[in-house]
Symmetry: C2
Subunit: 157 residues, 2 copies
DNA sequence: CCATAACCTAACGTTGACGTTAGTTTCCGA
DNA sequence: TCGGAAACTAACGTCAACGTTAGGTTATGG
């Protein structure tokens, strides 16, 4: 496919619903690796980087993590990726047990965080949808009453 | 019960896991009504207010709303409450149809917002727990290998 | 009753996550 | 090839949501 299509900042920004400044900022803060440049110095984004940014935005918007927290999550994920490629290359990386244990701890925290969030959301969703149902019913009745008044007004003219 | 227990700022702050400054700030921004005072001017919180603040914190932390957005949600809920008490007092409030229609719209938005959030969270939860399971398995194997090395080292001594 | 812990207001400070502007340089389609 | 659109860097600005400090007042347990 066109996974190796070259994207400009503006194109990426529009696709992701952010501004170029945000993309620069994420690069500046090390959330994405330094983006390759044209000879003239313009950034050229590839699909992998864009998906990484989408991931960042999900962590931010859905989970409410700060960019710092996101960075440490991404760092862990990057370490796991390095580990996997080393394995795939037939190497036997060192410090793997500690590294994996760290990763497990962090991912457990993320999953727990998500679970807590979903639990709270479910409770609030129930509360609000119940309330909404009751108000809708109330509105139906009020509208009926309103129409009745209009009708009798119409008759009297 | 002791629903009419009097709480000091610090007690409330500790119970809710925030600072006194936050409580003052919410009052200043009109998220909670002016808190009653002792003759000397110290704030005295009651259970209702504390629960309102808990509600605010949930809207903020779980749903990610800004304090401004929360304010408009609370305003709508307050209008509904006023409406209910008017009805309970046998009055027939005016502008009820528009008011209820507005409330329905706002609550629909809230519920939709929650649903979108839960959908995204569910997807991320699956992604992360799958990943976690794989890394746990990998860690098991690494630990086994590690123990095997230790054991043979022990033998050779 | 008094020491000291807790509270008050007012005001300025901080931090994260970008927005904005300025001055310059590069890209690219007619 | 060339002119306007788009990108670049650097730096300062902004805004929400509190944090912090100062200087003074009130509450309360021994």
């Amino acid at each position: 496919m066109d996974r190796d299509k070259a994207w400009t900042v503006e194109a990426v920004a529009e696709r992701l619903g952010v501004t170029p400044r945000t993309l620069h900022y994420y690069e500046e803060k090390g959330l994405i690796p330094e983006v390759p440049r044209t000879p003239g110095g313009h950034r050229v984004y590839d699909e992998d980087t864009i998906e990484r940014i989408e991931h960042i935005l999900r962590l931010k918007e859905a989970l409410g993590y700060s960019l710092q927290e996101i960075r440490s999550i991404l760092d862990t994920e990057d370490r796991l990726k390095t580990y996997r490629t080393r394995i795939a290359e037939g190497q036997e990386p060192e410090h793997n047990v500690e590294m994996l244990a760290d990763a497990v701890r962090l991912l457990e925290n993320v999953v727990r965080h998500i679970d807590e969030k979903m639990t709270r959301l479910a409770a609030m969703r129930e509360q609000y949808s119940d309330r909404l149902a009751r108000i809708r019913a109330r509105l139906q009745r009020e509208e009926a009453a309103h129409r009745a008044v209009d009708a009798s007004n119409g008759e009297s003219e």
